[in-house]
């Protein structure tokens, strides 16, 4: 198993699918069916391969596994792949969500299905590449490359204001990321390599760390997104087709969270600890502000989009506590949010396909016609609130625990966010599911089809399962997270004594 380049296979299998799709004739009905089947089977196959990866993954080893290293650009820039406990779960999350995205698009995409599926498979390649790269340039390549298919997905198959939204999405993210590119180049010149494994051991000059940290932060803050650069997300979510929203919420936002853990913390620990209060403040503002805005939304997708901003606030809070619980909590929160918010967008897609509106006011009393739908929707709403027994709870609880140990004030504000989350989520649920069934077009609405059941019930099961038994996730994350924490602690301890000595010298000279 060790000689097989399994990560390359997972990354480039969807591209092979693209080649297959592009030679299928899409003019006839059977051709369209072939397209759908091919895309579905390629993504399923990729999921199976990634499960093989997970089975062969050594949970006790905190280092990178399944590494592949080939000479690529200059000396010091190589095609270096590998996964550890932090990235493997995000790889699995990506491959897991993809078949659902393909399934969810079967009926809702009315034209150019071939190009649509090709865009999605290219996007899958790029997303997995982001999580597997162990070279900064390679990472940047995948990270930025993802903009191209997403730009087309929102722009071609999106809603009414799709052009505005997709331009906003593209230019916001690009503007954030280019500074990261300059920082990567500066690191390359400073250190002589962009190899992440080497850089994680290397202590970058503290005075440069602050600049580099800000450059990386600009990129990830836009992508995750943090207040005040979150404004592209609600627009992009609202206009994107259902599967586009699922991938956006489920995986693309996680790329930034992953970036914070791997790069901001791993490469610039001193700057990270220096800027931690700044990040906390922005996260708290994001949690409370986004939750309050979610309370007044009229559009279901916009409400869920703002809830994403709030949930990502918990992730950044957890990451910058520098504690084991914080990072584990942030990771579990990301995975849980990846599943729950993806499922919520799929739920919106279910009723949107039937009624063609996302306005909350247009719904009501769906429980009478759609009991199954009401049931799964409830589970995901509870997961979004973070009710005990759902995966959302585990993540939020760990993050709150960590932030309490660091700073009580931030913890108090963060906890308010949980209450607000309950308020807007339950309000959405009540408006859509309960109440009298009086709207005329809702009287004939049908409950979930088999295809939708196949999509939604596994996600519901996973939400509940990890709510009760998150241990498998923690087992995978813990060694790598602990390794990271100890590295950071080492770097910080190297700095702090000298600071103390300096301050002592200063005090003495004052006397």
């Amino acid at each position: 198993m060790s000689t097989l380049p399994i990560l390359s296979i997972i990354i480039f299998l969807p591209l092979a699918g693209v080649v297959l799709l592009s030679i299928i004739n899409s003019d006839s009905k059977s051709g369209i069916r072939n397209l759908k089947q091919t895309a579905l089977w390629v993504t399923c196959l990729n999921f199976i391969v990634s499960i093989v990866l997970l089975i062969n993954f050594d949970q006790t080893d905190p280092n990178f596994q399944f590494t592949e290293n080939y000479f690529w650009l200059n000396s010091g820039i190589s095609y270096h792949l590998g996964v550890d406990g932090i990235s493997i779960l995000l790889v699995i999350l990506t491959t897991f969500l993809m078949p659902f995205c393909i399934l969810a698009s079967f009926d809702s995409i009315k034209f150019s299905l071939k190009e649509y599926l090709i865009s999605f498979l290219i996007l899958e390649t790029l997303m997995i590449g982001v999580f597997c790269s162990l070279d900064l340039i390679l990472f940047y390549l995948f990270f930025e490359g993802g903009l191209i298919p997403m730009f087309l997905i929102i722009g071609i198959w999106g809603g009414e204001r799709r052009v505005y939204s997709t331009f906003k999405f593209f230019l916001f993210t690009l503007a954030g990321s280019v500074f990261m590119l300059l920082a990567i180049i500066a690191i390359y010149i400073e250190v002589g390599t962009t190899d992440i494994v080497y850089l994680l051991q290397y202590d970058i000059d503290p005075s440069l760390q602050y600049i580099f940290w800000l450059a990386f932060f600009a990129s990830f803050a836009v992508k995750i997104p943090m207040w005040p650069v979150h404004t592209w997300l609600p627009d992009a979510h609202v206009e994107a087709p259902t599967a586009g929203s699922v991938i956006l919420a489920g995986v693309l936002l996680k790329m930034a969270g992953y970036g914070f853990i791997r790069f901001s913390l791993g490469l610039f620990p001193i700057a990270s600890s220096y800027f931690a209060p700044f990040v906390f403040t922005l996260s708290i503002i994001a949690i409370i502000y986004a939750s309050l805005i979610a309370l007044v939304q009229k559009d279901m997708k916009k409400l869920i989009a703002y809830s994403s901003v709030a949930h990502m606030g918990f992730v950044t809070l957890g990451i910058f506590t520098f504690t084991l619980q914080g990072i584990e909590g942030a990771m579990i929160q990301m995975i849980s949010h990846g599943i729950v918010s993806a499922a919520l967008f799929l739920c919106v897609g279910v009723v949107y396909d039937r009624i063609h509106t996302r306005e909350i006011e247009r719904y009501g009393g769906l429980v009478n016609r759609m009991p199954l739908y009401a049931f799964v929707f409830m589970i995901f709403i509870m997961g979004s609130i973070g009710l005990p027994g759902t995966s959302g709870f585990v993540g939020e609880f760990l993050v709150l625990l960590a932030i309490f140990s660091v700073n009580t004030y931030f913890a108090v504000f963060a906890t308010t966010g949980v209450v607000l989350a309950a308020a807007y989520s339950l309000w959405l649920y009540r408006k859509v599911i309960f109440g009298p069934l009086i709207k005329e077009d809702l009287l004939e609405i049908l409950d979930l089809s088999y295809r939708e059941i196949i999509i939604l019930f596994p996600l519901a099961f996973i939400t509940i399962f990890f709510g009760f038994y998150p241990q498998p996730l923690i087992d995978i994350i813990e060694p790598s997270a602990a390794h990271l924490i100890s590295n950071i602690a080492n770097d910080l301890s190297l700095i702090e004594p000298t600071n103390q000595i300096e301050s002592i010298i200063q005090m003495e000279s004052n006397y």
Binding site: L73, I148, V178, I189
Partner: protein, 469 residues
Amino acid sequence: MSIFLPILPELSIFLSAIILLILGLFVNNIKLIINLAIASIFFAIFLVLLQPIQSAFNNSLVIDEFSKVVKILILTGSLASIIMYHSSRKDLNINLFEFPILILLATIGMMIMASANDLIAIFIGLELQSLTLYVLAALNRNHLASSEAGLKYFLLGALSSGLLLFGLSYIYGFTGNTNLNLISTVVTPGNIGLIIGIVFVCSGLAFKVSAVPFHMWTPDVYEGAPTPVTAFFALAPKVAAIALAVRFLIVGFSDIAFDWQQIIIFLSIASMVFASFAAIAQKNIKRLMAYSSIGHVGYALIGLACGTSQGVSSLIIYLTIYLIMNIGVFSFILSMKNKGEYYENISDLSGLYKTHPYYAAVITIFMFSLAGIPPLAGFFGKFYIFIAAIESNLVLLAVVGILASVIGAFYYLRIIKVIYFDENKNSFDGFKHRSLNFLTHPTAFLILIFCIYPLPLINISNYAASSFF
């Protein structure tokens, strides 16, 4: 005879140009002339590859690694424009056998520019190229815009040649030499007369590469000239003029690098920023490509401003990728036609992907690559330029460049938006042309797969840069 050996490629092209000129008078077969011109270019490429490193005519022409690589780029550009001319001459109504011959003559001028190591040789090469370009711009005599473009280009070009010559005479006056190697031995910092000379030469060269603020002619000439000529303007002369500037400044004046660096930095920043804003409002795709080329020259000048080995090699990488992208884009523009009518407005492309999904994908690759989005080749061009800039501590230049690339991304995205997001309007029949497809598809493929195996180009560029450092 052996003293002519170093200029064998130029001589071969010259002889074939003369023979073709005579042949054209007697044989009424343009296709034959075009084919022979293409064959002579291939032969010249072959000769350039075989040439040893040497210098000729008392070191006034040098054949080194740099000039060989640049000559191959120039010949490739000329080759592509002849093919483009062949595919469009009937529809454009310019069925003149002089076209390939003029291209060949301009190519000789540009090859001398690439090798010129002497002020006189520099001027001869530059003028030989410029004079043929003036004629080419006005080639479509019956077309008002083309004549206007030719006249405009001629007036401004003559002015810039005057500036350049004035600067050269200053440099000769203050150093007493015309050979760049000899000049470099007597250059001392603080010589104001010399700096005035360099400023004039840089202005003249900035005009030839269309760097801001000497860019005014570019949009009009690009729009007015027949498209194959526009393509030729965007391809070979840019490469040749930048190569000339590199050799002139780095060989002759590396001791006072600080003085001329400021000029280049200003030209570079002005070009990048101006082009990215000015291109946003363009409706004509040839005008848009004019602004795009101004912006790209700005990025290429970053490599020159570094004045280091890394700078020159990143410049070569950038120019090569720029050349490949522009060959593709211009042959695509030539394919935008229906029943003999050419489309030139961006809005004419609306909804292209519904009727021609494959070609829409091809132009999308080019546009994302021009915008510098990874993993396409255009990204690597910018990447190496920025490496060189940060290595030489030109961080400000890198920051401005990268911000301009974000703004620039907008106008490239606008074309993609028109192709994919707007309703279908026109029908096209120009995509069947075999010789144009021969240019578009391989270049798109190269740009797409460049990231997999970029080493050959990096090695070539390092090889080219090794001749200076």
